[in-house]
């Protein structure tokens, strides 16, 4: 039996205190298995981003525990959490969030440099991954010289290049037109199929959900349904 990439047990998150307290997540139990291509859906305020933040070791739960590859996040200090995010988790954000002063290739190499990978290997791997996401020849363009779809492809390449256990994507297609969205979803799906990379995608875009093989529905901070397709 496969070991889950991510395990959430009784995860709760409360923002604020007293009468102003808001329960963003309530008693969430979830296992993300290797090779999953899962979508996390739900209306605004249902807790999608909060759950992605917990799974991505960006935030700590008020109750319960998140475990990534057997490591309980609650027992890790700030530096260990940084290392975990660097080496085991890839992030794709809605607003791409590329470093504007670095070229496409440098944005990708930057993560590898933080990992301590030698310069030659960084360059080779960055070019490979750029080719994989269909951006061959655009290595030296800065984010401002790329379209939204191209920037998001660079962001995906950046998320993949560290060879993470899981890629977390929060509304990755929200700023893209339908054609670009279809291409991007197809790309993520292909990477999942060909390379076995686990994806957990927070979205309410039906075009993304079409490709989903597992659909998790959140409602008021609780998992309302978890369906394998």
């Amino acid at each position: 039996m496969k070991t889950p990439n991510v395990t959430c047990r009784g995860v709760g998150k409360v923002f604020g205190k007293g009468e102003l307290a808001v329960k963003a997540l309530v008693d969430v139990d979830l296992d993300i298995m290797p090779g999953d291509f899962a979508t996390l859906a739900g209306p605004s305020g249902s807790g999608k981003t909060t759950l992605l933040n917990m799974v991505g070791a960006l935030d700590t739960p008020t109750s319960g525990e998140v475990t990534i590859e057997g490591q309980p996040l609650g027992k890790l200090n700030k530096s260990e959490l940084s290392d975990l995010r660097l080496n085991r988790i890839g992030f794709v954000f809605q607003a791409y969030n590329l470093i504007p002063v670095l070229s496409a290739r440098e944005n990708i190499e930057f993560v590898m440099e933080l990992q301590g990978i030698p310069a030659n290997e960084r360059k080779t791997r960055a070019q490979q991954v750029l080719a994989e996401v269909g951006l061959k020849g655009l290595d030296n363009r800065r984010p401002s010289e790329l379209s939204g779809g191209q920037q998001q492809r660079v962001a995906i390449a950046r998320a993949l290049v560290s060879r993470p256990s899981i890629v977390l994507a929060d509304e990755p297609t929200a700023n893209l037109d339908s054609k670009t969205t279809s291409e991007l979803v197809a790309l993520m799906y292909r990477l999942n199929q060909e390379l076995g990379i686990t994806f957990l995608i927070g979205t309410h875009d039906p075009r993304v959900m079409e490709h989903s093989r597992r659909h998790i529905e959140l409602l008021d901070g609780r998992i309302a349904s978890d369906t394998k397709i």
Binding site: L58, D59, S82, R85, F93, N97, V101, Q115, S162
Partner: protein, 405 residues
């Protein structure tokens, strides 16, 4: 790449960066020039004043400076001068003796300080001989000759060739009396000197005041007052060996030293204010740029960059910016100062004041590594040190609130 990223980050807002650089460069340039000019003026002031008559350093009997009695002497000045010959920075040494006397011309008499000088070596140490405006300076063959400051000559109503009667106390307690011929009148511009000082040949002074070959002072000079200052320990050793004391320029002219120190402390206050103002303006600008990038720092944290790495990157940005700004200012400052060093600056209407201090009317800056680097390095160091403020801000960031902006 973090170094490269830090460098590129400072050029994200080119106009803001250029303005910050200009601020630092202008301040650094100003500091380089002002410090070089101020210290150059001090050097000119010291050298000018000391070259009139004192010399850059003096050897005397232990308590002669505070209580200049005629019997407090350097018994064997020739031995002392022979020892000084081994000190390369001392280019000349001359013997002097002093006495307080009454100078008289008929019914008129005035108290004066008469200095017995060696006409051969004295011109190498002091410029008084070059200040002779009427007649001539003393020369080696002179016997019963004297030169007076123009104020003293005027008070005594003396003209060249007139006889002057000198009356004082000899070293053995007897009366020292002599009649000398006025051969020259000098005018230094320093009123005190011109009203009170007279010079006569040292050999004649020796006979008149029964000095038995002893003198009161051995004055020295060099190419540069700083070289003499640097050799002070050695000079003090020679003094101790000859059972006398060595006085540096500050001990010879404490009033000048105090005036310089007072002026320097005021100037330092101004320099520090300038540095503080510039540093806080620059720091404020840079802190703003850090605040603007909070969201981006949140993303970097999410990608796995550690807060310390981001903090160091921001610190690097501060240091790069200050190094470029202050470096450029330093180079500009050197160029401007080097140019002024060639042409000098004249302060119109200051001739009387400068003459009083024995200064030339045209002043020149004097660059040294310290004067060039002190200001710019202070700015860079202060910015680097205060970089702890943005660094601490970055260290306190958490990914989620930071990404929320």
């Amino acid at each position: 790449m973090i170094v490269s990223l830090a460098w590129r980050n400072i050029w994200r807002q080119p106009i803001r960066t250029v303005l910050s650089l200009l601020g630092m460069a202008a301040t650094s340039m100003l500091l380089v020039f002002m410090m070089s000019f101020q210290f150059g003026a001090y050097d000119t002031m010291k050298s000018g004043m000391l070259r009139i008559s004192d010399g850059f350093g003096q050897f005397q009997a232990a308590t002669y400076k505070d209580d200049p009695e005629i019997d407090k002497v350097i018994a064997d000045p020739k031995a002392l001068i022979a020892d000084l010959a081994a000190v390369k920075t001392v280019t000349a040494a001359t013997e002097r003796s002093n006495a307080f006397v009454l100078l008289a011309n008929g019914e008129r008499s005035f108290a004066a300080a008469v200095v017995g000088v060696d006409p051969v070596n004295e011109p190498k140490v002091s410029t008084l001989f070059t200040q002779v405006k009427q007649g001539r300076a003393l020369k080696a063959s002179d016997q019963a000759a004297i030169i007076l400051g123009d104020g003293l000559a005027r008070n005594l109503k003396l003209s060249l060739g007139d006889k002057v009667t000198l009356l004082g106390s000899a070293m053995d307690g007897s009366v020292a009396a002599d009649v000398l011929t006025l051969v020259g009148i000098f005018k230094t511009g320093v009123a005190e000197v011109d009203r009170q000082i007279a010079q006569m040949p040292l050999a004649r002074f020796n006979d008149t005041f029964m000095m038995n070959g002893a003198v009161h002072i051995v004055a020295i000079t060099g190419d540069n007052i700083h070289q003499i200052e640097a050799d002070e320990t050695r000079l003090r050793g020679i003094a101790a060996k000859n059972q006398v004391v060595y006085l540096n320029w500050g001990q010879i002219q404490p009033a000048v030293k105090q005036a310089i120190e007072l002026d320097m402390s005021t100037a330092m206050l101004m320099y520090v204010t300038l540095v503080v103002v510039v540093v806080f303006i620059i720091l404020n600008t840079l802190y703003m740029s850090v605040l603007e990038r909070t969201r981006e720092f949140g993303v970097l944290l999410a990608l796995g960059m550690k807060p310390g790495q981001i903090g160091r990157m921001v610190w690097m940005e501060l240091i790069f910016l200050s190094l470029v700004g202050c470096g450029a200012g330093c180079l500009l400052g050197i160029a401007v100062t080097a140019w002024v060093q060639q042409v000098g600056i004249t302060f119109s209407g200051m001739d009387a004041v400068t003459a009083q201090w024995g200064l030339p009317s045209r002043m020149y800056p004097n660059m040294t590594p310290f004067r060039v680097l002190a200001g710019p390095v202070a700015i860079v160091a202060a910015i680097a040190l205060l970089g702890i403020i943005p660094y601490r801000r970055v260290m306190g960031l958490e990914p989620v609130p930071a990404m929320a902006g």
